[in-house]
């Protein structure tokens, strides 16, 4: 399984990877990108099963990243992990084709729940 983690914070990418392992994805191949533009470049060349992305990032936001992915025909399961958690952000995420929006801070349980639904 190929999972792409996109966040401009190296520390948060590390935390997401740690939670992925705790959530049962220890054997997954985890790729990383620091913004949406870098994530899009990886998505064009790698067969991804799941993308976990921050919302606010330089170069290309998570929402723009998702919109670009979908406009290029990529249907990869996509989840936001972000501190933006108001209903309007959730609505925008779902309208753009996200499977879920997980609010930071997250714990292992909420992380597992979101991923479980998205990858069922």
């Amino acid at each position: 399984m190929n999972i792409l983690v996109v966040d401009d914070s190296k520390t948060i990418r590390m935390l997401v990877k740690r939670n992925l392992k705790q959530a049962g994805f220890a054997d997954a191949n985890i790729l990383e990108a620091e913004d949406g533009a870098a994530g899009l470049a990886i998505a064009r060349t790698e067969a991804l099963d799941l993308i976990l992305s921050d919302w606010n990032m330089p170069e290309m936001s998570g929402l723009e990243f998702l919109q670009n992915l979908r406009s290029e025909g990529f249907g990869t399961t996509f989840g936001f992990i972000t501190s933006e958690s108001t209903p309007s952000y959730k609505d925008q995420a779902m309208a753009a084709g996200a499977a879920f929006l997980l609010s930071k801070p997250f714990n292992a349980e909420s992380f597992s729940d979101a991923l479980g639904v998205a990858t069922a």
Binding site: T11, M14, S83, E84, S103, N107
Partner: protein, 150 residues
Amino acid sequence: MAEFFGALLGLGTAASKVSPAQIENDGAHVIGTYHDDLGRIAALVTADLPFAASAGASLAMIPASAARDDVKDGSIDENLLENFREVCNVAASLLNTPHTPHLTLQDVWATDHPDLPVEVWDVLAGASKRREFAVTIEGYDDGRLGIVIR
């Protein structure tokens, strides 16, 4: 507050409300500035050096001794400051509700930084709401965190 930091840091935390401390331009505090959609500083997160260093270290599982060293030196190093920036970034979720202006973290500053916006002192002096908490993070030194609304 304790629940927020427990989820973020993955460690046991406790928080209790305390009276806000005086903040000076002496580097003893670190401040996160939050802008509204008009680019105005609308809120601050304040942390004393022990909390900023402890939270920054615990987020990345850096030993508590590194945070203590920074406190002894009187300034937070770049690595822990970067991690504390992420704590402040996530703390935006404490400030944003469906019924208030949308705020995003603009930057994080030590209070003796020469480029700290002067506006910060106006916000501190004229805050409409200010809360401060003594926060304990399991395995790290205690510190204080504040939330200031313009």
